[in-house]
């Protein structure tokens, strides 16, 4: 499985994260998204005419959407992540995979605006991002009230992997995550999963790391 990847992209990170959690082997092809704009190059557009990352290639299969790529990696390497315990869980996973597109279009855009100076209607992006976080918060509260700790049910699924990165990185786009206690505890649970990997701005729980020694100041 070849992943066209950019280290700072939340949509690419979610694929790397799922691969790490399921033990899937990825071959990474770094795309110089910034400053190179390689995703707009003729060679890249020949692979994904939409000009977005991530992209996955496996044999003759090309996937250009992170929800589809997550589904493929899970089906191959970790079917439990598909969330097939019940019709409700499976439908919730589908719903959150679709919802994650709204996260890319709001928080994702606010972030590339603030970090990479990409043009965007920043006020509208932040407003839509806040609305997304409020919907995740409300859903997590409802899950907790019915005894579940994760977005689609009582165990982590693709729903959590799809929505976790933008929920952590919202401050990069000027969107505060302070007002969301349920999101705070949920992101801690994801960060504590065995096999969890980091990206810039998203760290494994420090309280699980060894005591630091000789940190330079």
């Amino acid at each position: 499985m070849i992943l066209y990847d950019y280290a700072l992209s939340p949509d690419c990170y979610k694929i790397r994260l799922l691969a790490a959690l399921t033990g899937a082997k990825l071959t990474l092809r770094a795309v110089d998204f910034h400053p190179g704009g390689e995703h707009r190059s003729p060679a890249f557009l020949a692979i994904n005419p939409g000009g977005t990352i991530p992209v996955m290639q496996d044999g003759t299969l090309t996937l250009t959407d992170s929800a589809a790529i997550l589904t493929f990696v899970a089906a191959k390497s970790g079917p439990a992540w598909l969330g097939d315990d019940s019709p409700e869980m499976r439908a919730r996973v589908a719903q959150w995979l679709a919802f994650a597109q709204r996260l890319s279009a709001s928080i994702g855009k606010a972030r590339t605006h603030d970090m990479l100076q990409k043009p965007a209607d920043i006020v509208a992006c932040r407003k839509a991002g806040v609305q997304c976080l409020r919907e995740i918060e409300a859903a997590l509260v409802e899950r907790h009230l019915t005894g579940d700790a994760f977005l689609a049910g009582n165990r982590p699924t693709l729903a959590d992997i799809a929505c976790f990165p933008h929920s952590m990185l919202a401050p990069d786009g000027g969107i505060s995550v302070d007002p969301y206690p349920a999101i705070r505890l949920w992101t801690r649970s994801v960060r504590a999963l065995p096999g969890f990997i980091e990206m810039p701005g998203i760290h494994r729980l420090h309280d699980l790391k060894p005591e630091p020694v000789g940190v330079p100041e």
Partner: protein, 204 residues
């Protein structure tokens, strides 16, 4: 001004968690140690000013995310990782405020306290929400009684505690009647969302 400000539900601050809260315009790091002790500190590391609410809890101490200086329950710096053999000077100390738990709610007081926070009976914690607007309890149909605003949300009897925030924002800490079932609580949670849309003037 009342002595105590409600800042969070206890359920949202399990041991080993730190979160930012604001009381009377002052930013605080609210945290809970491994043994369950609750503390509210100035949200500023004495070393270089990093927000301590970005830090992490280890055992009974809070550590700063930046260079890892760690602070004991008294606020006193107890360890500087870059100088492991140094006993940190007494002067390196985080200002500590009053924090306590009553009825599943965490209350903070910046200065001297003369009273105890209200003990709300017959209710269970539901959730905390932040409003990007001022909140007028009376126009939401709530009436004051026993230290909280009482009324119904989604058909469920609730008690609402209001925490004023800067920039005309506020947080609401909502408790629901003890006998409410999970289904009732979901309805009450949706009622809170409706109340927020009304307070923020968002048309349905």
């Amino acid at each position: 001004m009342p002595d105590w400000t409600p800042v969070a539900l206890l359920r949202d601050l399990p041991p080993l968690v730190v979160m930012p809260v604001t009381v009377d315009g002052v930013d605080l790091a609210l945290w809970r140690s491994a043994s369950g002790r609750i503390a509210a500190w100035a949200d500023r590391c004495p070393h270089r000013g990093m927000r301590l609410s970005h830090g992490f809890v280890r055992g009974e101490a809070l550590s700063c995310i930046y260079h890892g200086w760690s602070y004991a329950q008294s606020g006193q710096c107890q360890r500087i990782p870059a100088h492991p053999d140094l006993e940190p000077p007494e002067a390196i100390r985080v200002p500590v405020h009053h924090a306590t738990e009553a009825g599943g709610v965490i209350w903070v007081a910046l200065d001297t306290v003369t009273t105890a926070p209200p003990a709300l009976a017959g209710v269970q914690p539901l959730r905390s929400v932040t409003l990007d607007a001022r909140f007028d309890p009376a126009s939401a149909g709530l009436t004051e009684s026993g230290g909280a605003w009482r009324g119904t949300l989604g058909g469920v009897a609730v008690a609402v505690l209001v925490q004023p925030l800067p920039d005309n924002r506020c947080a609401l800490h909502v408790l629901a009647e003890s006998k409410a079932s999970p289904t009732d609580l979901v309805a009450a949670s949706r009622g809170i969302e409706t109340l927020r849309r009304q307070a923020e003037g968002v048309s349905a």
